[in-house]
């Protein structure tokens, strides 16, 4: 990792190569997980246009490998600079829900916010994901406004003191009327 000669100012977040041209905070690093080539490409573009760094992988198992959960051993710290995991729900092998569970079960990964995407508006599925700890559930195809909102939310969460976890939200683009109020979970 290159360092500027004579630099004595300490930054709050670690500087990485390529981030030196960023005037303020480093870019958010998003790990995008989707088995569809088309969707991976679109999501990558949406995130890059929103000034995020993106690592796109095609499966839950690849995502876990990247995050350092390879067969239960903790590997390198690459996964630790991931600020958000954005995963598709329906994937062969490991679903987005199963990936979410594995992340929340891991002591060193559980603080990374996970957002699930799906093209299917299935209430039981949405509830299950939110209950398991997903930050949001987004309907596909994603729009730029979804990504911008996510980015703002993650940046705010990062800045704020991480006390208790607040509300979980449903985010539905269809005209769905919730039969129950927003879930409000107590702190872990």
């Amino acid at each position: 990792m290159a360092r500027k000669g004579g630099e004595s100012i300490r930054q709050r977040s670690p500087q990485k190569v390529g981030d030196f041209d960023q005037p303020s905070s480093p870019k958010l690093h998003v790990l995008a997980v989707d088995d569809s080539h088309v969707d991976r490409k679109v999501i990558e573009r949406l995130l890059r246009i929103s000034s995020c760094r993106v690592t796109a992988v095609e499966s839950g198992s690849r995502a876990l490998q990247y995050l350092g959960l390879n067969g239960g051993e903790k590997k390198s710290s690459v996964g630790f600079d991931v600020n958000l995991i954005l995963t598709d729900y329906s994937m062969p092998g490991m679903t987005g829900y199963e990936l979410l569970k594995k992340i929340k079960e891991s002591s060193h990964l559980r603080e990374i916010p996970v957002v699930i995407m799906s093209s299917e508006n299935i209430l039981a599925r949405i509830d299950r994901c939110l209950e398991e700890g997903a930050e949001e559930f987004l309907m596909k195809p994603l729009k730029l406004s979804d990504v911008n909102r996510l980015k703002d939310y993650i940046t705010r969460e990062q800045g704020a003191e991480k006390g208790g976890r607040g509300k979980r939200k449903r985010n539905l683009q269809d005209d769905y009327t919730p039969s129950s109020p927003l879930l409000s979970l107590p702190p872990p």
Binding site: D39, R45, S90, L144
Partner: protein, 150 residues
């Protein structure tokens, strides 16, 4: 009107026709907005990926429906994937054909599924041809020294 302006007008009109006739929806417009000077071929690249994926899926579907014992879950999985990618590029008629297909998968009727596949393939080939025409028009404008208005 000079040749380039004429071509540009035709391009804009053709794109509008595709929206008006329901071949493409707002999602395609969203993709166009993600294209800029730094990524001038973004939409073309996404659509090429869509063509590649679609062709694989259509082959997989044909194979799956030819089996002695059709695995309808597998058929449904393929159609679901197709539905996803067509929605992602805004190919709404293809997406709708997938929705219909999935409903018939539940009935587990081979003949109906084969009809659905024919219908899906038909819709796909139409939108493929339209998109290819659109990109060709774009290329012609660029080759003539004009620019594309998004």
């Amino acid at each position: 009107m000079d040749v380039v302006s004429q071509m540009q007008k035709q391009f804009v009109d053709y794109k509008q026709y595709l929206y008006d006739q329901g071949f493409l929806d707002d999602q395609f417009k969203q993709l166009l907005q993600l294209q800029d000077e730094s990524n001038p071929d973004f939409v073309f690249e996404v659509v090429c990926l869509f063509f590649e994926d679609s062709e694989k899926l259509l082959n997989n579907l044909a194979t799956a429906l030819q089996q002695q014992m059709v695995d309808y879950k597998q058929v449904d999985a393929h159609v679901h994937q197709f539905k996803g990618s067509s929605a992602s590029i805004g190919a709404v008629k293809v997406k709708n054909a997938c929705v219909t297909f999935r409903n018939y998968c539940e009935e587990q009727n081979r003949e109906l599924c084969e009809k659905c596949l024919e219908n899906l393939k038909g819709e796909y080939l139409v939108v493929k041809s339209k998109l290819e025409t659109l990109f060709r028009m774009e290329q012609q404008i660029l080759a003539a020294g004009g620019s594309i208005r998004v």
